[in-house]
């Protein structure tokens, strides 16, 4: 288990290094002169030169990458080109906001979806199951921005006026006092992530319920509730953990749309803004950060699955 953990961490690090190369290569491969792009209408030769030096554009690519990477390792994310502020200061609050968003979403969506999946599996082919699966299907089918638009009209601007339409978050106030700004983004994320988890849980649960060992438990006289709790649930823990972490990882990328629509000051929205304003250091830092969240969650998913599945645990030794 320990060796496996070390291997997984090593692999995650390697992944991040490679991603950093890709991100760097991609962003530095911008057509034209990054400095010119940045200055745009204000590009005077003198301004251009000073910006080029500031961006190390006058050095060879490998040196640029090395500078960037060493800075990164030392926690210096560089300075935003657009605002000339340190990237760390610029996105610090946004990272926190996004993390809160993801965590809250996870805390609500995971138990809800798991419960839903289990219930529909137990009530297989009954009305509740069919209704749930139709609803889930429709949710999967509708693009997430449509939900955003719908919820805004429903709760903020047209029908009810109980929630804010855009998520303005004042970094100086405690997040708790601004909880209302999180409601609609969380609601949207919960809704869009529900089907994936619930359907996986349902499928695993059905598989477990049809297994020989559940039949055996019933033949041993184990009460039905206990059959589900003690026999079926442990068997699905691994896959459920896996899909949950993967859904969260997916959300880390999927927040782009939701954050943009709600103008939620998080890293997904910042990423889009960074791309639009060609703010290379910001884009680089955010791309790396999103990838890191993704990599970490995926690693956690793998390790957790192994930890929860005895057969794999043995194999890992």
């Amino acid at each position: 288990m320990k060796r496996m953990l070390a291997a997984r961490v090593l692999f995650a690090l390697l992944t991040l290094v490679i991603i950093s190369i890709v991100v760097f290569a991609a962003t530095q491969a911008l057509p034209g002169d990054a400095a010119l792009v940045q200055l745009g209408k204000q590009a005077t030769p003198a301004a251009l030169e000073s910006l080029r030096a500031r961006m190390h554009l006058d050095q060879p690519l490998v040196a640029q990458y090395w500078l960037w990477l060493t800075d990164l390792v030392h926690g210096h994310l560089g300075n935003s080109l657009a605002t000339n502020m340190s990237v760390g200061a610029l996105i610090g609050d946004r990272v926190a906001n996004t993390l809160v968003l993801l965590v809250v979403t996870g805390v609500i969506a995971l138990p809800l979806a798991t419960a839903l999946g289990i219930l529909t599996a137990i009530r297989r082919d009954r009305a509740a199951d069919h209704t749930a699966s139709v609803v889930m299907l429709v949710i999967v089918a509708i693009p997430e921005f449509v939900f955003c638009l719908l919820f805004v009209a429903l709760f903020a601007t047209n029908v009810l006026h109980v929630l804010p339409a855009v998520s303005l978050i004042d970094p100086d106030q405690p997040l708790l006092s601004q909880a209302s700004a999180f409601v609609l983004p969380v609601l949207t994320l919960v809704i869009v992530s529900l089907p994936y988890i619930a359907r996986t849980v349902r499928a695993c649960m059905l598989e477990a319920l049809e297994s020989d060992y559940v039949a055996m438990a019933r033949l041993k006289g184990v009460p039905e509730r206990q059959v589900i709790v003690k026999h079926a649930l442990p068997a699905i823990a691994g896959p459920v953990f896996q899909v949950s972490a993967q859904t969260l990882a997916y959300l880390a990328g999927g927040i782009v749309v939701v954050e943009t629509v709600f103008q939620f000051p998080g890293i997904g929205f910042a990423f889009v803004q960074g791309i639009q304003s060609r703010d290379l250091p910001v884009v680089q830092a955010l791309a790396l950060m999103l990838a890191a969240v993704y990599v970490i969650l995926n690693s956690v998913a793998d390790l957790g699955t192994v930890a929860m599945t005895p057969t794999l645990r043995k194999g890992a030794r």
């Binding site: 020989d212 060992y213 055996m216 033949l219 041993k220 068997a235 823990a237 043995k314």
Partner: protein, 600 residues
């Protein structure tokens, strides 16, 4: 008077049990009735699909998904299990009547420790005290000869061997001291030695706990020595039931007799015969006797009306109109068969293996093997599970390359690894896999599977000739060429194995390595495959290396035998010589454990 006294003492009484499919009006089993006294064992035998599992689980009031118990009664210790519902039924399961499933691995929860699963069985039946649970677990594990250390109880099912898993589920079946235990083929898939252990253990446990046992199997040889009574099932009916001895020696139903005739005997070579034909699908239930279509003695009257049970002697009934005729016709297998070919001299090997050592990523499983397979004869390779039989076969077939040593075929050296061999070598040596459903691509038709070696190694001109060759090969293995368009899933197990044989024959090989080609089959199907192999050997002058763990099969088919024990050949020689007077202790033990019907 006595009848009444008898009834009181019964542990289980089953009458008119009937199970139908849930969605269609199709009968799966019906008219099942028997009774057992405490400590007695009923062996239920019958070929695959005859309804054994259905009956076994119905005894616990449990109908598998898709089926429904539609009638009858199962009275265990005075309680009619079938009349119970919900929690009342649940409480009786495991406590009054318990079930030991066919496949222990899939029946143990992979995510829970052995200790927890054993303790749970006690806990749901009211044994709440940890100490008492602990004590009873210890006791039952001792009964099944498993350690009851903390470390062992903390293991997960995949961390113990198949035999141990089997013993755990048996322990689970007995742990609550039920009145009746249903054991559903608990030894299928185990090697003879382990099987012998389990059988002894079941006997002991039933006697010690005064538990009535219902032991389901397809192999009469297994049940013959164990059961007090035997019930023969065919097509959802109990076609014959009676004392074990009476069934074995004087069966009154042609099907029971057929079953006896298909069982090879390790102690003497007998002529095998097989029951012709196939079982009809469930929804085509014929009128009259369900066996009539496959029965040599059937008269037109057998095919109409209800067949009534005929009482033969006390407690022995058969569902046959012609029991008298059946019992009076001489048993076909009484004759001892003599091998035509004379045992070849050693050193005349067609295949010879010298100093073969094989390992898996460094772990050595075969040590210094020397083996000669004489031309034109059947050489059997026997040994327990894990002794390395398959590995040796795979080395010869070119499927295992991590090996050293020398092999020659017909005098020319044979390299390890099929890709290193010439076309001719690959053509000459063919290998048939243990599990036919594994060996055939489920997505490809029979024709495509058989055509593959013809295309790769044969020389066929055009598709017309190809079709012709395929049809001829199917004919060789006694399959209807119409089956050529089917996929493996549309074939029975025996048919599938015939296809793999046909495929091996396609290259016109000289040496055929057969790896346990019958061990996954019913005894009745096994007999027909053995007959087929025997015929092909004679017709095509094949040299056979026949890998098996069953000494009875060896006696039936082989000329020579080599005994493999943990990677070393411990004994080798002509079959009759080795089996009649085994020299090595290992061979002796193997022989002792091989179940046999005592017909004399």
């Amino acid at each position: 008077m006595t009848a009444v006294a008898e009834t009181v003492k019964q542990a289980i009484e089953v009458a008119d049990l009937r199970v139908d499919l849930a969605d269609r009006d199709v009968n799966v089993v019906r008219d099942i009735g028997f009774s057992l006294r405490p400590g007695q064992i009923l062996g239920v035998i019958g070929e695959s699909g005859s309804g054994k599992t259905t009956v076994g689980s119905a005894l616990l009031g449990y109908a598998r998904p898709g089926t429904r118990i539609t009638g009858g009664s199962v009275v265990v210790d005075g309680v009619d299990v079938l009349s119970l519902r919900g929690p009342a039924l649940r409480k009786r399961r495991g406590e009054l009547i318990s079930y030991v499933p066919q496949d222990p691995f899939s029946s143990l929860n992979p995510c829970r420790r052995l200790g927890a699963q054993l303790a749970e069985t006690l806990a749901v039946h009211g044994v709440d005290s940890k100490a008492e649970q602990r004590e009873r677990i210890e006791r039952i594990l001792e009964d099944v000869r498993l350690p009851s250390t903390k470390e062992f109880l903390r293991r997960y099912p995949h961390e113990i061997s198949g035999g141990q898993q089997q013993r755990i589920v048996i322990a689970m079946g007995f742990i609550c001291n039920p009145k009746v235990v249903v054991l559903d083929e608990p030894t299928t898939g185990l090697d003879v030695t382990t099987q012998a252990h389990v059988l002894r253990m079941v006997r002991e446990l039933c006697e010690r706990h005064r538990t009535a046992g219902i032991y389901v199997s397809h192999d009469l040889a297994v049940v013959g020595g164990l059961a007090d009574r035997i019930g023969v099932m065919y097509y959802g009916r109990l076609v014959e039931a009676g004392p074990a001895d009476a069934i074995v020696r004087a069966a009154g139903h042609p099907y029971s007799r057929g079953l006896i005739q298909v069982i090879p005997d390790p102690h003497r070579r007998r002529v095998l015969s097989s029951v012709r034909g196939r079982v009809a699908p469930l929804d085509e239930r014929p009128d009259g006797c369900v066996f009539a279509a496959r029965c040599d003695l059937a008269e037109p009257e057998c095919r109409t009306g209800e067949i009534q049970p005929v009482a033969l002697e006390s407690g022995h009934v058969a569902m046959c109109r012609r029991t008298e005729v059946v019992r009076s016709s001489p048993p076909a297998n009484a004759a001892l068969a003599a091998r035509v070919s004379a045992p070849a001299e050693a050193g005349q090997g067609f295949l010879s293996v010298r100093e073969l050592t094989a390992s898996y990523s460094g772990y050595q499983v075969l040590k210094d093997i020397g083996l000669d397979v004489p031309r034109g004869l059947v050489t059997a390779l026997v040994g327990e599970s894990g002794s390395g039989k398959t590995t040796l076969g795979r080395c010869i077939a070119g499927l295992h390359e991590e090996a050293t040593g020398a092999m020659t075929v017909g005098g020319s050296p044979l390299r390890f690894g099929a890709r290193n061999r010439s076309r001719e070598e690959r053509r000459t040596v063919q290998y048939i896999f243990q599990n036919a459903s594994e060996a055939l691509n489920p997505r490809r038709s029979v024709r495509d599977s058989i055509a593959e070696p013809l295309i790769t190694l044969g020389s066929v001109a055009g598709s017309a000739e190809l079709d012709e060759r395929v049809d001829a090969l199917l004919d060789d293995v006694a399959l209807n060429p119409r089956l050529a368009t089917r996929r493996p899933s549309e074939l029975s197990g025996g048919e599938r194995q015939r296809v793999t044989i046909a495929r091996a024959l396609a290259t016109d090989p000289s040496l055929l390595v057969c790896d346990e080609i019958t061990s996954a089959l019913d005894v009745s199907v096994q007999a027909s495959i053995l007959l087929l192999i025997e015929r092909l050997c004679a017709e095509k002058n094949l040299t056979l290396l026949f890998v098996t763990h069953n000494l009875a099969v060896v006696r039936a088919i082989a000329d020579r035998v080599a005994v493999l024990d943990t990677g070393v050949i411990v004994e080798e020689g002509a079959v009759d010589q080795v089996l009649d007077s085994p020299q090595h202790a290992y061979t002796q033990a193997l022989l002792k454990d091989t179940p046999a019907l005592d017909l004399d």
